[in-house]
Structure formats: structure tokens, C-alpha cells
């Protein structure tokens, strides 16, 4: 299992936070909100795949 999943998520979070600050400072609140939402969706899609993988190994290990 790749540990860099955590670092990828953290990097996306930092980028989104910086973009958010820049966009809010330049007076574009709507686009800042959209950026936040897009980052959230990207991370959710990454996480959902891994959750499915986790559930698969739990199911196969414990015979559920």
C-alpha cells in the first residue's frame, strides 16, 4: 500500500488552501468556493477507491 496517498491528500489540501486565500484576497469569493468544492471532490474520488480496496481486503480476510 502506498504511503504517498497521505502526502498527495495533504498537498491537494495545501494547494486548495493557498488558492482559496488568493482568490478571496482578489475578491472572487464564488471561484474560491468552487475551488474548494473541486478539491474536495478530487480527494473524495481518491479516497473512495481506497475505501473500496480496504473493504475488499477486510471481506476476503474475515470471510464476511
Amino acid at each position: 500500500m502506498d504511503v504517498d496517498l497521505i502526502f498527495r491528500i495533504a498537498a491537494i489540501g495545501i494547494i486548495v488552501a493557498v488558492l482559496n486565500q488568493v482568490l478571496i484576497r482578489s475578491g472572487r469569493e464564488e471561484q474560491a468556493m468552487m475551488t474548494t468544492l473541486a478539491g474536495l471532490i478530487v480527494v473524495l474520488l481518491m479516497i473512495i477507491k481506497e475505501i473500496k480496496y480496504l473493504f475488499d481486503i477486510v471481506k476476503s480476510t474475515f470471510g464476511l
Partner: protein, 128 residues
């Protein structure tokens, strides 16, 4: 599974999560979930090896090895339920966490119905 790897990257993840919590609190939740997934995908194969060892060690005793199935299933349900409940609790939704725990407890009880029936039959047989 290497315990030093796990400790190292969990400490790194904690610092990342702490840094992000000030700006975007939802990402620290994602980092927690990612840490959970990475650690469990390292640990669960080892748990499987332990279960295999137990299964082979008691393979000649049919009575015990038949009873072990619900036990391992309950372990799996407990792990999955705890992941979800802890994530809810980290997000500050302790009532949802309690509901998930209720669902997990119900699922484990449903799985252990055959064992309970056997115990009741045994007691009834002794009382006769």
C-alpha cells in the same frame, strides 16, 4: 508490516493534518481516513496470517474450528465499524458515530445467533 514505518509516517501525517486543520478542516479528516486505510492495508494481511495460524493449529478439533467462523466475522465487522465511527467522531458527529456502532453491534449479534442457540440448547439439555 514494519512498525517503524508506520510510526514514522503517522507522525508525519499528524503534522500535516495539524497544519491543514487551521485552513481547511475537512482535509485533516481525509488525511485521517487515508492513514487508517494505509495502516489497515498493511496490518490486515498479517491478521489474516494470524487467523490462518489459528485455523491450522485447531484444525484437528472440529468443534472449536466450527465456532471460530462467527468470531472472525465479528472481528471484521468490528474493525470496519470502528473506522466509520472514529471518522464520524473526528468530524464532531458523535450521534452518527453512535448509530454506526449500534448497527455494528446488531450485525455482530445477528452473526452470533447460531452460537447463542447452541448455548441455549446445551443449557436446556442440561436442565432436562
Amino acid at each position: 508490516m514494519n512498525i517503524f514505518t508506520i510510526v514514522g509516517f503517522v507522525i508525519a501525517a499528524v503534522f500535516l493534518s495539524l497544519t491543514l486543520k487551521g485552513y481547511r478542516p475537512e482535509y485533516s479528516l481525509f488525511i485521517g481516513l487515508a492513514v487508517t486505510i494505509v495502516i489497515l492495508s498493511m496490518v490486515i494481511p498479517d491478521i489474516g496470517r494470524l487467523l490462518n495460524f489459528i485455523n491450522t493449529a485447531i484444525a484437528d478439533n472440529r468443534i472449536i474450528s466450527e465456532k471460530l467462523g462467527p468470531l472472525t466475522k465479528a472481528l471484521g465487522i468490528g474493525i470496519v465499524t470502528e473506522i466509520a465511527a472514529d471518522t464520524c467522531r473526528d468530524a464532531g458527529e458523535s450521534s452518527m458515530a453512535s448509530r454506526i456502532e449500534l448497527a455494528g453491534k446488531t450485525a455482530i449479534l445477528i452473526i452470533s445467533i447460531p452460537l447463542a442457540e447452541e448455548v441455549l440448547n446445551l443449557v436446556a439439555g442440561l436442565l432436562k
